[in-house]
Protein backbone atom coordinates (compact mmCIF):
# COMPACT_ATOMS: atom_id res chain seq x y z
CA UNK A 1 0.00 0.00 0.00
CA UNK A 2 0.97 3.59 -0.39
CA UNK A 3 2.86 4.72 2.64
CA UNK A 4 0.69 7.47 4.08
CA UNK A 5 -0.97 9.99 1.82
CA UNK A 6 1.14 10.20 -1.30
CA UNK A 7 0.69 12.44 -4.32
CA UNK A 8 1.67 10.72 -7.55
CA UNK A 9 3.19 12.92 -10.22
CA UNK A 10 3.45 12.25 -13.94
CA UNK A 11 5.86 13.52 -16.54
CA UNK A 12 5.73 17.30 -16.77
CA UNK A 13 4.26 17.82 -13.34
CA UNK A 14 5.66 19.67 -10.36
CA UNK A 15 4.37 19.22 -6.85
CA UNK A 16 5.37 21.15 -3.76
CA UNK A 17 3.99 20.14 -0.37
CA UNK A 18 4.70 20.25 3.30
CA UNK A 19 5.34 17.52 5.89
CA UNK A 20 3.82 15.01 6.60
CA UNK A 21 2.84 14.67 2.92
CA UNK A 22 4.74 12.51 0.50
CA UNK A 23 5.23 12.63 -3.25
CA UNK A 24 5.86 9.64 -5.48
CA UNK A 25 6.62 8.83 -9.08
CA UNK A 26 8.04 6.18 -11.40
CA UNK A 27 11.10 6.85 -13.51
CA UNK A 28 12.79 5.29 -16.51
CA UNK A 29 15.18 7.54 -18.38
CA UNK A 30 13.26 10.46 -16.86
CA UNK A 31 14.78 12.25 -13.91
CA UNK A 32 13.08 13.55 -10.77
CA UNK A 33 14.69 16.25 -8.69
CA UNK A 34 13.56 16.35 -5.05
CA UNK A 35 14.13 19.58 -3.17
CA UNK A 36 13.75 19.96 0.56
CA UNK A 37 14.02 22.56 3.26
CA UNK A 38 14.63 20.98 6.65
CA UNK A 39 13.63 24.11 8.56
CA UNK A 40 10.11 24.44 7.20
CA UNK A 41 9.46 20.85 6.14
CA UNK A 42 8.54 22.07 2.68
CA UNK A 43 9.63 19.90 -0.21
CA UNK A 44 8.91 19.42 -3.86
CA UNK A 45 9.48 17.09 -6.75
CA UNK A 46 9.48 17.37 -10.52
CA UNK A 47 9.57 14.68 -13.19
CA UNK A 48 11.05 15.50 -16.56
CA UNK A 49 11.38 13.50 -19.73
CA UNK A 50 13.97 15.38 -21.76
CA UNK A 51 16.93 17.57 -20.83
CA UNK A 52 16.31 20.64 -22.97
CA UNK A 53 13.35 22.65 -24.13
CA UNK A 54 13.03 22.17 -27.88
CA UNK A 55 12.31 25.85 -28.51
CA UNK A 56 8.92 25.39 -30.12
CA UNK A 57 6.48 23.59 -27.88
CA UNK A 58 5.07 25.08 -24.70
CA UNK A 59 7.65 25.66 -22.00
CA UNK A 60 6.33 22.81 -19.96
CA UNK A 61 8.22 21.13 -17.13
CA UNK A 62 8.69 17.97 -19.13
CA UNK A 63 12.03 19.54 -20.04
CA UNK A 64 14.78 19.54 -17.41
CA UNK A 65 15.93 23.08 -17.92
CA UNK A 66 12.36 24.28 -17.45
CA UNK A 67 11.34 21.86 -14.71
CA UNK A 68 14.24 22.45 -12.30
CA UNK A 69 14.13 26.29 -12.23
CA UNK A 70 10.31 26.04 -11.97
CA UNK A 71 10.55 23.70 -9.00
CA UNK A 72 13.02 26.06 -7.31
CA UNK A 73 10.69 29.00 -8.02
CA UNK A 74 7.72 27.12 -6.57
CA UNK A 75 9.74 26.44 -3.42
CA UNK A 76 10.75 30.10 -3.18
CA UNK A 77 7.12 31.14 -3.55
CA UNK A 78 6.32 29.01 -0.52
CA UNK A 79 8.80 31.10 1.42
CA UNK A 80 11.73 28.71 1.42
CA UNK A 81 15.17 30.29 1.53
CA UNK A 82 17.32 28.98 -1.28
CA UNK A 83 20.25 28.63 1.13
CA UNK A 84 18.31 25.99 3.07
CA UNK A 85 17.50 23.88 0.03
CA UNK A 86 18.93 20.42 -0.42
CA UNK A 87 18.48 18.25 -3.47
CA UNK A 88 18.24 14.56 -4.23
CA UNK A 89 18.18 13.29 -7.77
CA UNK A 90 16.87 10.02 -9.18
CA UNK A 91 16.36 8.29 -12.51
CA UNK A 92 18.14 8.78 -15.79
CA UNK A 93 18.43 5.08 -16.54
CA UNK A 94 19.81 3.94 -19.88
CA UNK A 95 17.26 1.72 -21.46
CA UNK A 96 17.74 -1.69 -22.97
CA UNK A 97 18.19 -0.39 -26.46
CA UNK A 98 21.69 0.57 -27.54
CA UNK A 99 23.14 3.86 -26.37
CA UNK A 100 23.21 5.34 -29.85
CA UNK A 101 19.51 4.66 -30.25
CA UNK A 102 18.23 6.40 -27.21
CA UNK A 103 20.57 9.37 -27.68
CA UNK A 104 21.79 8.93 -24.14
CA UNK A 105 18.77 10.78 -22.85
CA UNK A 106 19.14 9.42 -19.35
CA UNK A 107 22.74 10.66 -19.19
CA UNK A 108 21.77 14.09 -20.46
CA UNK A 109 18.89 14.31 -18.02
CA UNK A 110 21.28 13.66 -15.15
CA UNK A 111 23.83 16.15 -16.47
CA UNK A 112 21.23 18.89 -16.68
CA UNK A 113 20.12 18.29 -13.09
CA UNK A 114 23.70 18.47 -11.80
CA UNK A 115 24.52 21.53 -13.86
CA UNK A 116 21.45 23.56 -12.93
CA UNK A 117 21.60 22.65 -9.23
CA UNK A 118 25.27 23.65 -9.21
CA UNK A 119 24.36 26.96 -10.74
CA UNK A 120 21.78 27.64 -8.02
CA UNK A 121 24.30 26.38 -5.43
CA UNK A 122 21.92 23.75 -4.15
CA UNK A 123 23.86 20.77 -2.78
CA UNK A 124 22.95 17.27 -3.96
CA UNK A 125 22.85 15.29 -0.73
CA UNK A 126 21.74 11.96 -2.20
CA UNK A 127 21.30 10.44 -5.60
CA UNK A 128 20.62 7.21 -7.37
CA UNK A 129 20.97 7.74 -11.08
CA UNK A 130 21.96 6.03 -14.30
CA UNK A 131 22.31 2.27 -14.77
CA UNK A 132 19.62 0.28 -16.48
CA UNK A 133 16.84 -0.02 -13.95
CA UNK A 134 13.66 1.91 -13.72
CA UNK A 135 12.89 3.30 -10.28
CA UNK A 136 9.89 3.87 -8.08
CA UNK A 137 10.44 6.58 -5.56
CA UNK A 138 8.50 8.04 -2.69
CA UNK A 139 9.67 11.28 -1.16
CA UNK A 140 8.55 11.53 2.47
CA UNK A 141 8.55 15.11 3.60
CA UNK A 142 8.20 14.03 7.22
CA UNK A 143 11.80 12.88 7.43
CA UNK A 144 13.14 14.20 4.09
CA UNK A 145 13.95 10.63 3.06
CA UNK A 146 13.32 9.05 -0.31
CA UNK A 147 12.27 5.42 -0.46
CA UNK A 148 13.48 3.77 -3.63
CA UNK A 149 12.72 0.49 -5.31
CA UNK A 150 13.94 -0.72 -8.66
CA UNK A 151 11.36 -1.82 -11.20
CA UNK A 152 12.02 -5.13 -12.84
CA UNK A 153 11.79 -4.09 -16.44
CA UNK A 154 11.47 -0.73 -18.08
CA UNK A 155 9.66 0.15 -21.29
CA UNK A 156 10.87 3.72 -21.78
Amino acid sequence: MIEGNSTFIHVGQIHVDVAPASISTILGSCVAVCLYDRKSGIGGMNHYLLPFWNGNSLQSPKFGNIAIPKLIESMLERGVNIKNMEAKIFGGASMNISASNNMMIGEKNILVAREILKEYRIPIVAEDVGRENGRKIQFNLQNAKVLLKYTIKVHV
Partner: protein
Amino acid sequence: MENVANKENMGDELAFLSKKILELNKKLIDSEKAKSRFLSLVANKLNNPLTAILGIIPHLKIIDTKENELLFELVCKEVSNLDFKIQNLVMASEIESGNIDISYALVEPLEIIDEALESLKHLIKEKNIEIKINSSIKQKVVTDPKKVYTIVKNLISNGCKYGFENSVIEIDLDIKDLMFVIKVKNQGDAPKVNYKPEIFTRFAKDADGKHGLGIGLSVVREICERLDGTIDYEGEDGFVTFVVRLSLDESMVDSQAYGSNEFLFESFDDAIEL
Protein backbone atom coordinates in the same frame (compact mmCIF):
# COMPACT_ATOMS: atom_id res chain seq x y z
CA MET B 1 41.57 -0.63 -22.71
CA GLU B 2 41.08 1.48 -25.79
CA ASN B 3 37.34 1.01 -25.45
CA VAL B 4 37.36 2.38 -21.94
CA ALA B 5 39.31 5.42 -23.07
CA ASN B 6 36.90 5.95 -25.94
CA LYS B 7 33.92 5.72 -23.64
CA GLU B 8 35.44 8.26 -21.30
CA ASN B 9 36.11 10.61 -24.19
CA MET B 10 32.55 10.25 -25.36
CA GLY B 11 31.28 10.95 -21.86
CA ASP B 12 33.41 14.10 -21.63
CA GLU B 13 32.23 15.28 -24.98
CA LEU B 14 28.60 14.63 -24.07
CA ALA B 15 29.04 16.64 -20.90
CA PHE B 16 30.71 19.49 -22.80
CA LEU B 17 28.07 19.61 -25.52
CA SER B 18 25.22 19.34 -23.04
CA LYS B 19 26.60 22.31 -21.12
CA LYS B 20 26.78 24.30 -24.35
CA ILE B 21 23.21 23.40 -25.23
CA LEU B 22 22.10 24.31 -21.73
CA GLU B 23 23.74 27.72 -22.06
CA LEU B 24 22.14 28.45 -25.42
CA ASN B 25 18.81 27.10 -24.29
CA LYS B 26 18.87 29.41 -21.31
CA LYS B 27 19.15 32.41 -23.61
CA LEU B 28 16.27 31.09 -25.64
CA ILE B 29 14.14 30.57 -22.55
CA ASP B 30 14.93 34.08 -21.29
CA SER B 31 13.87 35.61 -24.57
CA GLU B 32 10.63 33.65 -24.48
CA LYS B 33 9.94 34.35 -20.82
CA ALA B 34 7.90 37.45 -21.57
CA LYS B 35 5.50 35.35 -23.60
CA SER B 36 5.11 32.83 -20.80
CA ARG B 37 4.53 35.56 -18.25
CA PHE B 38 1.96 37.17 -20.50
CA LEU B 39 0.28 33.83 -20.92
CA SER B 40 -0.16 33.27 -17.23
CA LEU B 41 -1.26 36.88 -16.72
CA VAL B 42 -3.94 36.62 -19.37
CA ALA B 43 -5.08 33.29 -18.07
CA ASN B 44 -5.46 34.58 -14.54
CA LYS B 45 -6.77 38.08 -15.09
CA LEU B 46 -9.24 37.49 -17.88
CA ASN B 47 -10.71 34.19 -16.90
CA ASN B 48 -12.64 35.27 -13.81
CA PRO B 49 -14.51 38.30 -15.20
CA LEU B 50 -15.39 36.35 -18.31
CA THR B 51 -16.80 33.47 -16.30
CA ALA B 52 -18.98 36.01 -14.50
CA ILE B 53 -20.18 37.49 -17.78
CA LEU B 54 -20.95 34.05 -19.14
CA GLY B 55 -23.05 33.37 -16.08
CA ILE B 56 -24.93 36.65 -16.31
CA ILE B 57 -25.82 36.64 -20.00
CA PRO B 58 -28.57 34.00 -19.90
CA HIS B 59 -30.38 36.06 -17.24
CA LEU B 60 -30.49 39.20 -19.30
CA LYS B 61 -33.95 40.26 -20.33
CA ILE B 62 -34.42 40.90 -24.01
CA ILE B 63 -36.88 43.61 -24.84
CA ASP B 64 -38.76 42.08 -27.65
CA THR B 65 -37.46 43.67 -30.77
CA LYS B 66 -35.74 42.03 -33.71
CA GLU B 67 -32.76 44.34 -33.40
CA ASN B 68 -32.18 43.50 -29.76
CA GLU B 69 -32.34 39.83 -30.48
CA LEU B 70 -29.66 40.16 -33.13
CA LEU B 71 -27.48 42.17 -30.79
CA PHE B 72 -27.99 39.62 -28.06
CA GLU B 73 -26.94 36.82 -30.38
CA LEU B 74 -23.89 38.78 -31.41
CA VAL B 75 -22.88 39.27 -27.79
CA CYS B 76 -23.35 35.56 -27.09
CA LYS B 77 -21.23 34.65 -30.07
CA GLU B 78 -18.39 36.99 -29.18
CA VAL B 79 -18.39 35.99 -25.54
CA SER B 80 -18.32 32.28 -26.29
CA ASN B 81 -15.53 32.88 -28.78
CA LEU B 82 -13.58 34.86 -26.19
CA ASP B 83 -14.20 32.16 -23.61
CA PHE B 84 -12.83 29.50 -25.95
CA LYS B 85 -9.66 31.51 -26.55
CA ILE B 86 -9.16 32.16 -22.86
CA GLN B 87 -9.71 28.49 -21.99
CA ASN B 88 -6.91 27.64 -24.41
CA LEU B 89 -4.67 30.18 -22.73
CA VAL B 90 -5.57 28.81 -19.31
CA MET B 91 -4.72 25.30 -20.45
CA ALA B 92 -1.42 26.47 -21.97
CA SER B 93 -0.56 28.25 -18.76
CA GLU B 94 -1.44 25.16 -16.71
CA ILE B 95 0.80 23.02 -18.88
CA GLU B 96 3.67 25.47 -18.57
CA SER B 97 3.34 25.71 -14.82
CA GLY B 98 3.33 21.93 -14.38
CA ASN B 99 -0.10 22.03 -12.76
CA ILE B 100 -1.92 20.07 -15.41
CA ASP B 101 -3.40 16.89 -14.13
CA ILE B 102 -4.95 14.09 -16.11
CA SER B 103 -8.08 12.63 -14.58
CA TYR B 104 -9.63 9.62 -16.22
CA ALA B 105 -13.29 8.84 -16.43
CA LEU B 106 -15.63 6.62 -18.40
CA VAL B 107 -16.55 8.79 -21.31
CA GLU B 108 -19.15 8.67 -24.03
CA PRO B 109 -17.20 10.13 -27.00
CA LEU B 110 -20.29 11.34 -28.86
CA GLU B 111 -21.40 13.39 -25.87
CA ILE B 112 -18.12 15.25 -25.91
CA ILE B 113 -18.44 15.94 -29.63
CA ASP B 114 -22.00 17.21 -29.12
CA GLU B 115 -20.88 19.47 -26.33
CA ALA B 116 -18.09 20.90 -28.48
CA LEU B 117 -20.48 21.42 -31.39
CA GLU B 118 -22.98 23.16 -29.13
CA SER B 119 -20.37 25.61 -27.93
CA LEU B 120 -19.26 26.27 -31.51
CA LYS B 121 -22.79 26.61 -32.91
CA HIS B 122 -22.41 30.30 -33.74
CA LEU B 123 -19.28 29.70 -35.79
CA ILE B 124 -20.84 26.72 -37.54
CA LYS B 125 -24.00 28.68 -38.33
CA GLU B 126 -22.06 31.70 -39.56
CA LYS B 127 -20.21 29.68 -42.18
CA ASN B 128 -23.19 27.45 -42.86
CA ILE B 129 -21.15 24.32 -42.28
CA GLU B 130 -22.69 20.89 -42.20
CA ILE B 131 -21.31 18.47 -39.61
CA LYS B 132 -21.23 14.75 -40.29
CA ILE B 133 -20.30 12.39 -37.48
CA ASN B 134 -19.32 8.76 -38.07
CA SER B 135 -18.66 6.74 -34.98
CA SER B 136 -17.88 3.04 -34.82
CA ILE B 137 -17.45 3.19 -31.06
CA LYS B 138 -20.18 1.32 -29.26
CA GLN B 139 -18.88 1.44 -25.72
CA LYS B 140 -17.64 4.15 -23.41
CA VAL B 141 -13.92 4.80 -23.37
CA VAL B 142 -11.59 5.59 -20.49
CA THR B 143 -9.98 8.94 -21.07
CA ASP B 144 -9.84 12.48 -19.71
CA PRO B 145 -13.10 14.10 -20.88
CA LYS B 146 -12.01 17.70 -20.36
CA LYS B 147 -8.84 17.21 -22.36
CA VAL B 148 -10.63 15.40 -25.19
CA TYR B 149 -13.18 18.22 -25.25
CA THR B 150 -10.38 20.75 -25.66
CA ILE B 151 -8.84 18.70 -28.46
CA VAL B 152 -12.03 18.25 -30.49
CA LYS B 153 -13.21 21.79 -29.92
CA ASN B 154 -9.94 23.17 -31.26
CA LEU B 155 -9.95 20.88 -34.27
CA ILE B 156 -13.57 21.57 -35.18
CA SER B 157 -13.12 25.28 -34.64
CA ASN B 158 -10.06 25.29 -36.91
CA GLY B 159 -12.00 23.28 -39.45
CA CYS B 160 -14.70 25.96 -39.45
CA LYS B 161 -12.28 28.87 -39.50
CA TYR B 162 -10.04 27.63 -42.26
CA GLY B 163 -12.64 25.59 -44.12
CA PHE B 164 -14.79 26.92 -46.94
CA GLU B 165 -18.24 28.36 -46.43
CA ASN B 166 -21.20 26.03 -47.05
CA SER B 167 -18.88 23.02 -46.81
CA VAL B 168 -18.90 19.85 -44.73
CA ILE B 169 -16.82 18.86 -41.72
CA GLU B 170 -16.56 15.14 -41.13
CA ILE B 171 -15.76 13.82 -37.68
CA ASP B 172 -14.72 10.18 -37.46
CA LEU B 173 -14.42 8.30 -34.18
CA ASP B 174 -12.84 4.89 -34.03
CA ILE B 175 -10.90 2.50 -31.81
CA LYS B 176 -7.93 0.89 -33.52
CA ASP B 177 -5.07 -1.05 -31.93
CA LEU B 178 -6.00 0.13 -28.44
CA MET B 179 -5.99 3.71 -29.65
CA PHE B 180 -8.92 6.10 -29.56
CA VAL B 181 -8.77 7.74 -33.00
CA ILE B 182 -10.43 11.07 -33.73
CA LYS B 183 -10.37 12.43 -37.28
CA VAL B 184 -11.61 15.85 -38.26
CA LYS B 185 -11.77 16.46 -41.99
CA ASN B 186 -12.70 19.75 -43.58
CA GLN B 187 -12.69 21.21 -47.05
CA GLY B 188 -9.94 23.76 -47.35
CA ASP B 189 -6.30 24.26 -48.06
CA ALA B 190 -3.71 22.56 -45.90
CA PRO B 191 -1.77 24.90 -43.64
CA LYS B 192 1.03 26.48 -45.64
CA VAL B 193 4.15 25.90 -43.62
CA ASN B 194 7.66 24.89 -44.51
CA TYR B 195 7.84 22.20 -41.90
CA LYS B 196 5.01 20.24 -40.35
CA PRO B 197 6.03 20.83 -36.72
CA GLU B 198 5.58 24.58 -37.20
CA ILE B 199 1.85 24.17 -37.26
CA PHE B 200 1.98 22.86 -33.68
CA THR B 201 4.36 25.57 -32.51
CA ARG B 202 2.97 28.22 -30.24
CA PHE B 203 2.66 31.72 -31.68
CA ALA B 204 3.99 30.58 -35.05
CA LYS B 205 2.81 32.26 -38.19
CA ASP B 206 2.04 30.31 -41.29
CA ALA B 207 3.63 31.26 -44.58
CA ASP B 208 0.76 33.56 -45.55
CA GLY B 209 0.91 35.44 -42.30
CA LYS B 210 -2.65 34.25 -41.69
CA HIS B 211 -2.91 32.83 -38.24
CA GLY B 212 -4.95 32.83 -35.09
CA LEU B 213 -3.51 33.20 -31.65
CA GLY B 214 -1.12 30.38 -32.45
CA ILE B 215 -1.88 28.61 -29.23
CA GLY B 216 -4.68 26.15 -30.01
CA LEU B 217 -2.73 23.47 -31.82
CA SER B 218 0.26 23.75 -29.51
CA VAL B 219 -2.07 23.07 -26.59
CA VAL B 220 -3.70 20.21 -28.47
CA ARG B 221 -0.35 18.59 -29.21
CA GLU B 222 0.72 18.93 -25.60
CA ILE B 223 -2.51 17.35 -24.33
CA CYS B 224 -2.19 14.52 -26.86
CA GLU B 225 1.28 13.77 -25.55
CA ARG B 226 0.01 13.77 -21.97
CA LEU B 227 -2.61 11.23 -22.96
CA ASP B 228 0.16 9.16 -24.51
CA GLY B 229 -1.05 9.98 -27.98
CA THR B 230 -0.12 11.78 -31.16
CA ILE B 231 -1.53 14.34 -33.55
CA ASP B 232 -0.81 14.74 -37.22
CA TYR B 233 -2.49 16.13 -40.31
CA GLU B 234 -2.61 15.45 -43.98
CA GLY B 235 -3.87 17.61 -46.77
CA GLU B 236 -4.86 16.46 -50.22
CA ASP B 237 -7.32 17.33 -52.99
CA GLY B 238 -8.69 20.31 -51.15
CA PHE B 239 -9.29 18.43 -47.91
CA VAL B 240 -7.42 18.70 -44.63
CA THR B 241 -7.66 15.90 -42.09
CA PHE B 242 -6.35 16.16 -38.56
CA VAL B 243 -5.85 12.80 -36.92
CA VAL B 244 -5.55 12.38 -33.15
CA ARG B 245 -4.62 9.04 -31.63
CA LEU B 246 -4.97 8.64 -27.88
CA SER B 247 -3.84 5.61 -25.96
CA LEU B 248 -6.52 3.60 -24.20
CA ASP B 249 -3.98 1.51 -22.37
CA GLU B 250 -4.11 3.24 -19.02
CA SER B 251 -1.12 1.54 -17.53
CA MET B 252 1.02 3.10 -20.22
CA VAL B 253 -0.54 6.50 -19.70
CA ASP B 254 -0.07 6.68 -15.99
CA SER B 255 3.64 6.50 -16.28
CA GLN B 256 5.86 5.67 -19.10
CA ALA B 257 7.57 3.01 -17.13
CA TYR B 258 4.79 1.54 -15.05
CA GLY B 259 1.27 2.33 -14.02
CA SER B 260 0.84 4.33 -10.86
CA ASN B 261 -1.40 1.48 -9.75
CA GLU B 262 1.70 -0.45 -8.95
CA PHE B 263 1.99 1.75 -5.90
CA LEU B 264 -1.27 0.43 -4.60
CA PHE B 265 -0.20 -3.17 -4.57
CA GLU B 266 3.36 -3.04 -3.50
CA SER B 267 4.80 -1.73 -0.31
CA PHE B 268 8.06 0.04 0.20
CA ASP B 269 8.99 -2.44 2.93
CA ASP B 270 12.32 -3.51 1.49
CA ALA B 271 13.03 -0.22 -0.25
CA ILE B 272 16.34 1.60 -0.11
CA GLU B 273 16.19 4.79 1.89
CA LEU B 274 18.16 7.75 0.59
